[in-house]
């Protein structure tokens, strides 16, 4: 009844993405001396932590067979709210951060209610929300970048040393968030219900899951996670930036799909998403270190993305 250990590892859904990631790392290690250093890996994690965190929320929503195009915009708005409140309205920084998180969660809630109450397709709800929030960000910020942040807001950008390598507190928080959601999805009833909902809302309903509440909950939690991404962004860039996040919706979906989660819902893991985000970060960093001109970076990234999923697909075939 129990599979052998190697077999189990091979058949975990993250095996394929992981193989792709390892292959990419080996390749770049050969191509650039600077690649395989603790400092460089710490850097890559810093670079993917914002999209990675957004991708946690995106994973939750995609697991329910939804999609979120508004996450980058919500994050940008959250970042502006927390920084403006602290810098311009003089709110205590922690309160300002809490307000930013609450605003993001509220937008998530709004998405969830529209999806649930009127049964609208998530693609359209979040597309509309993307436009609304984008506009609100620019109107509210008057297109001004917010600077001179209090230290509490950039704390997550500070570093501590782990065996000779500087790691930011933000990187740590990101990793912890991934572990938290891996736990929630894999080890709690709530996680099971998310998967069941993604498999079939009708089945979930018939088995007595409160699907409406669950959907609204998932979108709200996702919104809250976007708020955390906003804080990570603010602490990484040191400013509140109204231009932020414009391609992060597609980037986060890319991380999710590269991580082996199905866009049709019900199948996938949040650790896969972490690997998916890292794959993109490793490509970008490695190609840059190799000195590849930017337009060729785009070309090669395109090819590598396809190759990465091919590796995943082939590794799945073997275990079938």
């Amino acid at each position: 009844m129990q599979a052998t250990l190697p077999r189990r590892i091979l058949s975990t859904p993250t095996a394929g993405p992981l193989a792709a990631l390892v292959l990419a790392c080996v390749f770049f290690a050969f191509k650039s001396d600077q690649f395989l250093t603790g400092g460089n890996f710490s850097l890559i994690i810093q670079q993917v932590m914002v999209v990675g965190t957004l991708a946690i929320g995106q994973t939750l929503i995609i697991l329910t067979a939804g999609i979120d195009l508004s996450n980058g915009a919500i994050m940008a708005f959250g970042g502006i709210v927390m920084t403006k409140l602290a810098v311009e309205n003089g709110l205590p920084p922690l309160l300002a951060i809490a307000a930013g998180l609450a605003v993001c969660a509220a937008f998530g809630l709004a998405n969830g209610l529209l999806v649930m109450k009127i049964n609208l397709p998530p693609f359209i709800v979040t597309l509309g929300m993307l436009n609304v929030v984008f506009a609100l960000t620019h109107i509210y910020s008057q297109d001004q970048t917010v600077t001179n942040l209090p230290p509490e807001m950039t704390f997550l950008g500070q570093t501590f040393r782990v065996g000779g390598t500087n790691v930011t507190y933000g990187s740590l928080l990101t990793i912890l968030l991934f572990l938290l959601f891996a736990y929630l999805l894999g080890q709690t009833a709530w996680g099971r219900h998310v998967y069941a909902l993604g498999n079939s809302p009708e089945v979930a309903r018939l088995t007595g899951i409160r699907t409406n509440r669950l959907i609204v909950g998932v979108y709200t939690v996702a919104g809250l996670v976007y708020g955390i991404a906003a804080l990570l962004l603010v602490s990484r860039t040191g400013v509140g930036d109204p231009q932020a996040g414009q391609t992060d919706n597609l980037d986060s979906i890319t991380a999710v799909v590269l991580g082996g989660t199905s866009l049709f819902g019900g199948r996938g893991t949040v650790l896969g998403t972490l690997i998916g985000a890292l794959i993109v970060g490793v490509f970008r960093n490695g190609l840059q270190l190799m000195g590849v001109p930017s337009i060729y970076q785009t070309l090669i990234t395109g090819i590598l993305v396809i190759l990465a999923v091919t590796v995943d697909q082939l590794s799945r075939r073997r275990t079938r």
Binding site: S32, D33, Q34, T37, G39, N40, S42, L43, Q46, Q47, V50, H138, S141, D143, Q144, T145, T147, T159, R161, T165, N166, T168, L233, R236, T237, G238, V239, D241, P242, Q243, A244, G245, Q246, T247, D248, R284, N285, Q288, L289, G291, P293, S294, I295, Q297, T298
Partner: protein
């Protein structure tokens, strides 16, 4: 971060990085070419990166970090978000890398070691003055085809234009304002809709030449290409040819090759002697038109074509 800083040179050529706003604007492509040529002449290795869209701060930060990790001596950057990029630049400079802004100043300007750029407010002001004079007192109905919310170049040029024209934001003479993201197709759609709204538009300010060409196509389809005054900024070869053909009345020419060459040379100098560049170098802006008006300095399209980029 605690990465091997900019000082730790690799064996071989010293490296210099160029980070542009986007990959898609010929302006930046020219800039890259200029940098490539200068790097070769100086015996340096050029690394390039670009944002995904005008305003993409996150990708520019990532590029700065990766270039520092790769051990560059200096970074040339056209900042997409002039304030938001500042902390990342500071980190790079702290790691011993010299950072020079091209095309667009950071805020504050001294966040970079040096700046090589057009004066964008002046670029707008020149075409504003030109338009005012060319209208010769006729009542104006103005459309402004702008960039996008929150990108400083767009605002600087727009404000400069208004100042040059002698009006303030909200003036009733401005009958239509629309964002184009500097894109030709979007410029065309914006112009079409403006014309539908106010068929008597007679002055069109455009953020750059792609937007101007889009506007021209729309005007032509409406039979108004001869009667409406279009002004723009850039001075690319396509744009100057359009000035020559009468499609654009006047354009403020910029010199991206100069920015790039001077930037690379400065980094090379730093690599060799340790001497850092500083201050603002105005790479100049010239009004190009074949229908000069009195009181506004301008050069003709022959000059424009001789100095154009792209």
């Amino acid at each position: 971060g605690g990465n091997s800083g900019g000082g730790g040179g690799q064996a071989g050529a010293a490296k210099v990085g160029l980070i542009t706003k986007t990959e898609t604007n010929p302006f930046f492509v020219k800039m890259k070419e200029g940098a490539e040529k200068a790097a070769k002449a100086e015996g340096m290795e050029l690394m390039t990166a670009a944002g995904k869209f005008d305003g993409d701060n996150a990708t520019q930060i990532t590029a700065i970090e990766n270039m520092v990790a790769a051990g560059v001596k200096g970074i040339l950057i056209t900042p997409s978000d002039t304030k938001a990029i500042v902390p990342a630049i500071k980190k790079a400079r702290d790691a011993g890398v010299v950072v020079i802004a091209l095309d667009t100043p950071t805020e504050p300007q001294d966040a970079t070691d040096a700046l090589f750029a057009t004066d964008n407010f002046k670029a707008g002001e020149l075409i504003g003055q030109y338009a005012k004079a060319a209208m010769a007192g006729k009542p104006a109905k103005i459309a402004t085809l702008d960039l996008a919310p929150g990108i400083t170049v767009g605002k600087l040029r727009h404000d400069g234009f208004l100042k040059g024209f002698g009006i303030a934001e909200g003036d009733p003479q401005i009958v239509c304002s629309q964002d184009t993201r500097g894109d030709q197709a979007k410029g065309q759609t914006a112009m079409e809709n403006c014309l539908q709204k106010a068929p008597d538009i007679n002055v069109v300010y455009t953020i750059n030449e792609p937007a101007a060409l889009g506007a021209h196509t729309a005007l032509k389809a409406d039979g108004k290409d001869k009667s409406v005054l279009v002004v723009s900024v850039d001075g690319g070869c396509t744009g100057v040819k359009a000035v020559k053909a009468g499609q654009i009345a006047a354009t403020s020419q910029q010199y991206p090759l100069k920015m790039a060459e001077q930037g690379v040379t400065a980094v090379s100098e730093y690599a060799k002697s340790g001497k850092k560049p500083s201050g603002y170098t105005d790479t100049g802006v010239t009004l190009i038109t074949d229908k000069a008006v009195s009181g506004v300095d301008a050069k003709d399209t022959a000059f424009g074509l001789a100095n154009c980029w792209g």
